[in-house]
């Protein structure tokens, strides 16, 4: 967070629209999502005004449940697996990139076979094809409005 002061500032601000986070945290495992969410939910980071932190992974949650949750919640950060986040970005209008400023790719976490998010073919394809591959996302990245961070 020290290296990205802008992100810290934005996380502490109130989000304007429903389902439009300033941060997308992409990680490879649902358990990791839960851990990261716990860290991001800390009041020291969000302050009093900061938006909610959404957990977006397919295990135990239906896509429709996530859509209804995102449509009625002002979120500051969304943490999830590339599969579910990609689906929400491409196939629904529940998750918007309008306020997005940072995408963190969790390349530190490795599974039991020592493979990271970008080592596993399935998750790698989802990251580049659905999360980062959309036309709007590509434009925003090239314009420099969204920063990709390797964590």
């Amino acid at each position: 967070m020290k290296t990205t002061p802008m992100l810290r500032k934005r996380l502490a601000q109130k989000s304007k629209n429903h389902g439009s986070p300033t941060l997308l945290f992409i990680t490879g495992a649902a358990l990791r999502v839960a851990d990261v969410t716990r860290v991001l939910k800390d009041k020291k980071l969000r302050g009093e005004k900061g938006g909610e932190v959404a957990k977006l992974f397919a295990k135990h949650f239906k896509l429709s449940e996530h859509i209804t949750h995102l449509k009625r919640t002002k979120i500051g950060a969304a943490v999830g697996t590339p599969g579910r986040i990609g689906k929400l970005l491409c196939e629904t209008d529940a998750l918007a990139a309008s306020a997005l400023s940072h995408i963190i790719l969790d390349v530190t976490y490795a599974d039991s076979k020592k493979r990271t998010l970008l080592d596993i073919p399935e998750t790698r394809d989802e990251v580049f094809k659905t999360v980062l591959g959309g036309t709007e996302m590509q434009q925003l990245i090239k314009q420099g409005r969204i920063q990709i961070i390797l964590f």
């Binding site: 390349v107 990251v127 580049f128 420099g144 990709i148 390797l150 964590f151």
Partner: protein, 135 residues
């Protein structure tokens, strides 16, 4: 009394077992009559002696079996230890994190991974999709 003390292995060298005698009605009938289970009687004692001898004879073979099993167990344990050591060695080698690289190297790393995600896309198209590094 001489018979009483004689075991199954104490037969004379020139003794030939008569099949007819061995399968005689008397021997077969003995268990049916209940004499086999009775407390008294020479036959029972003979049987007891014979079974005692059998126990003695079978013990070495059991011990040999145990030895083989214990050897196998030791071998397995050694193999397990070897595997554990290998795993420990593998984990000891800490690979430097990707995140420790410079922004240019990270952009190159991302481009490589992106190319792996799009194997059929041409180099020009990949260059168009490439995530730029920090300016």
């Amino acid at each position: 009394m001489a018979i009483m003390n004689q075991g199954g292995d104490d037969l004379e060298d020139d003794f030939v077992i008569d099949d007819l005698v061995a399968l005689s009605e008397d021997d077969e009938a003995a268990p049916l009559d209940g004499a086999f289970f009775s407390d008294d009687g020479g036959d029972n004692n003979l049987e007891n002696d014979a079974s005692a001898d059998e126990d003695v004879d079978t013990q070495p073979s059991v011990n040999a079996g145990d030895a083989v099993i214990s050897k196998k167990r030791k071998r397995r344990e050694k193999e397990k230890e070897r595997k554990k050591r290998k795993l420990a060695q593998a984990t000891d080698v800490v690979q430097p994190s990707v995140t420790a690289k410079s922004p240019e190297e990270l952009a190159e790393y991302l481009a490589l991974k992106q190319a792996a995600a799009y194997p059929k896309v041409t180099a020009i198209e990949l260059e168009d999709m490439r995530i730029p590094g920090v300016p």
